[in-house]
């Protein structure tokens, strides 16, 4: 929770100035701790109290302190954030301030600026009267970076008294939880996100295809429920393999049996798309006629494919430079209101790292470890659902109204 140390000096005991201020802090929704109090030893001697005040958000703290300043309280740590130039490209000054994914403000020339595009594990760059989270590898020599903790204020997450099914899911993710209320809650949140004009991001792993949920995801894209797709090489590849050969990793999606030379299918699919030049072009030429990637291309849903070291191919759109891939994903983050992370450990954590806490996250995986890992990496706002990804997507797709525009 954001906090600030203030001082109250004067004849604050006999005049009831101290209880007046402490009562006001509580009445305004803050809490306090008296760090130090010196009581005047004689009538004429003044007393002095140093009080740490906490409030749920930086804004509330500001309002509270502005209120009690009129009761005689003086602010102590009213200092601007310290700035130092980055010593070289890709390097922050020593003592740089490390960001969290919580709303953050920095004090520059006496004014509090919100840190834009907040993201965990970054520095804070200040340029032209604006502050924003800057990844270390993008630091430019001479860029002014916040150092130390002075003049930096972080908002604590609001703990609302919610009584929805997500409430009990904020503890450890477990498979032993009823799925129906979870599905309807996710539906509600998707609709809410769209109503707010925000985007729904799907971060998906290839298990969606292997387990046969492509059609459900495809439908959600075509119906307008998914606005953005982040994946690796495998999801689009096996989706295209399925579209071209009816298999995923050589296994028939119809009867679940291995097909002769099926293990070559995904490589041949790769080769086809690489020859054509791009997934979009494959759609345009009529080579790719169905599936998730076809739905993305024809529905105008942007996708960012971030490669990894174990990739075959990869597909032409796959970005193999991880820093470039991060930047490509970052470019889309400001519009995202809800992220569905389904059946992918690597990309869930990678995207989770980029998201501010204001983005709701639902993480679905058959493996509890994936969900826990995401939470442990700092995406505390994530709600975990331990279940089969394909079944989840089937049910979710079926529970969503026919078309986004109708419902929203």
């Amino acid at each position: 929770m954001p906090s600030e140390v203030v001082e109250l000096k004067g004849h604050i005991v006999d005049s009831l100035g101290l209880p007046r201020v402490l009562d006001a802090i509580l009445a305004q929704g803050g809490t306090f701790e008296i760090e130090e109090i010196e009581i005047g030893k004689t009538r004429s001697e003044q007393s002095c109290a140093r009080i740490t005040i906490e409030a749920p958000t930086a804004e509330k703290l500001e309002t509270l302190i502005a209120y009690i300043e009129k009761e005689g309280v003086r602010r102590l740590d009213q200092e601007d954030a310290r700035l130092e130039p980055a010593p070289k490209d890709g390097v922050f000054p020593d003592e740089f301030y490390c960001t969290t994914n919580l709303p953050t403000n920095v004090r520059i020339s006496g004014a509090w600026l919100p840190v834009e595009r907040i993201e965990m594990d970054c520095g804070i760059a200040v340029e032209d009267g604006r502050a924003y989270a800057a990844p270390m590898n993008r630091a430019r020599r001479g860029q002014m970076i916040v150092v130390g903790h002075t003049g930096v204020r972080v908002d604590a997450p609001e703990r609302e008294d919610s009584h929805d099914v997500f409430e009990f899911m904020t503890s450890t993710a477990s498979s032993e939880k009823p799925k129906a209320p979870i599905i309807s809650e996710v539906v509600r949140r998707i609709i809410e996100t769209k109503q707010q004009g925000k985007k729904v991001l799907l971060v998906a792993g290839p298990a969606i295809v292997h387990a046969g949920a492509s059609a459900s995801v495809e439908r959600m894209i075509r119906q307008g429920w998914i606005d953005l797709l982040f994946a690796g090489n495998a999801l689009p590849l096996h989706d295209i393999e399925a579209a071209l050969y009816g298999t995923a990793l050589g296994i028939s999606l119809e009867d679940g049996k291995p097909t002769p030379h099926g293990h070559e299918h995904h490589l041949r699919a790769l080769n086809t798309v690489r020859r054509i030049g791009s997934i979009a072009e494959a759609v345009r030429q009529g080579v790719l006629t169905k599936g998730i990637m076809h739905a993305c291309v024809t529905s105008g849903v942007p996708f960012v494919l971030a490669g990894s070291i174990r990739d075959d191919g990869p597909l032409p759109e796959v970005i193999t430079d991880v820093l470039q891939a991060q930047d490509a994903m970052r470019a889309h983050i400001p519009d995202v209101g809800l992220a569905l992370m389904v059946a992918t450990a690597l990309h869930s954590v990678a995207v989770g790292n980029l998201l501010p806490t204001s983005v709701e996250v639902v993480c679905v995986d058959i493996n509890q470890v994936t969900v826990t890992k995401l939470l442990d990496r700092g995406t505390h706002q994530a709600v975990g659902v331990v279940t089969d990804a394909a079944l989840f997507m089937h049910e979710l797709s079926a529970a969503l109204p026919e078309h986004e525009e109708v419902a929203v």
């Binding site: 004067g10 005049s15 100035g17 209880p19 005689g72």
Partner: protein, 265 residues
């Protein structure tokens, strides 16, 4: 009776030229001739008291409220702690008050720039302690700062009714006790007042609106705008004699007898 000295400023340029408190309305002008008469009546009432002298300072054109000398600053012995007015409309008065006090041999102290303090309007000595009104015109931090200068206890009292924007509009020391209007204070301030002044006179809202608390107390005399029979009796029971002086034209500016005078000793 001990000798007493007051500072007043004739109302040559007095008028309602701006609105900085709920009493003031440019639509409700003060009758200038009547104001001059009322001010003279107050001056006469004071100077007619034995051993009492009134010093006068030159009025200044364009500074209508300079008549309210109580707000010039705080006088303790030969020390003058100059006010830092909240409203720009009154800030111009400071120069003239400081000149007068410097010319009359006072040491002048000023508070830090960021503090607001309106002198004897918000700081009064009663029953062996200083009481400091704050919120509308004076910062509580200013009282701590004045306490540093004086080396004496100042109990800040939180004012809550904008009509009673200075402590001297709702609180008047009288002997070892006080007259005050409870509605002008917050609950903490009231607890302090009730504990300190068990035998105080609490005035009714209609009395407070007639500026009953804005009284000049000299010896056993209480000079004030108007007095209700009840307050008159309460004061006479304590051995005081009321001397009402009609000050309606100054009440239009939110000031009465006390505001028009500054005790120098």
């Amino acid at each position: 009776m001990k000798s007493a000295r007051f500072l007043m400023c004739p109302p040559d340029y007095y008028g309602i030229e701006y609105e900085i408190n709920p009493w003031m309305s440019r639509k409700r002008a003060a009758d200038h001739d009547l104001a001059v008469k009322q001010w003279n009546d107050l001056h006469r009432a004071l100077t007619s008291l034995p051993g009492l002298t009134v010093e006068l300072m030159e009025p200044v054109k364009g500074l209508p409220d300079i008549v309210f000398t109580a707000n010039a600053g705080l006088v303790v012995g030969d020390l003058f702690i100059s006010s830092r007015f909240r409203h720009p409309e009154r800030q111009g008065e400071t120069r003239y008050y400081e000149e007068w006090f410097a010319d009359h041999g006072y040491r002048i102290e000023r508070l830090p720039d960021d503090l607001q303090f309106e002198g004897a309007g918000d700081l009064l000595r009663a029953g062996g302690a200083w009481f400091g009104g704050y919120y509308f015109r004076t910062d509580p931090q200013a009282h701590a700062s004045v306490s540093d200068i004086l080396g004496e206890e100042i109990l800040p009292l939180r004012l809550v009714d904008e009509r009673f924007y200075h402590l001297d509009t709702c609180f008047c020391p009288i002997g070892d006790s006080a007259i005050y209007y409870p509605g002008a204070f917050d609950e903490y301030a009231l607890r302090v007042l009730r504990e300190r002044f068990a035998d105080a006179i609490e005035v009714a809202p209609e009395e407070a609106e007639q500026f009953a608390c804005n009284a000049v107390v000299v010896g056993n005399w209480v000079i004030l705008n108007s007095v209700s029979p009840k307050l008159c009796k309460a004061l006479s029971d304590r051995g005081y004699t009321c001397h009402p002086v009609e000050l309606s034209e100054f009440i239009k500016s939110g000031g009465s007898a006390k505001c028009l005078t500054l005790a120098l000793s």
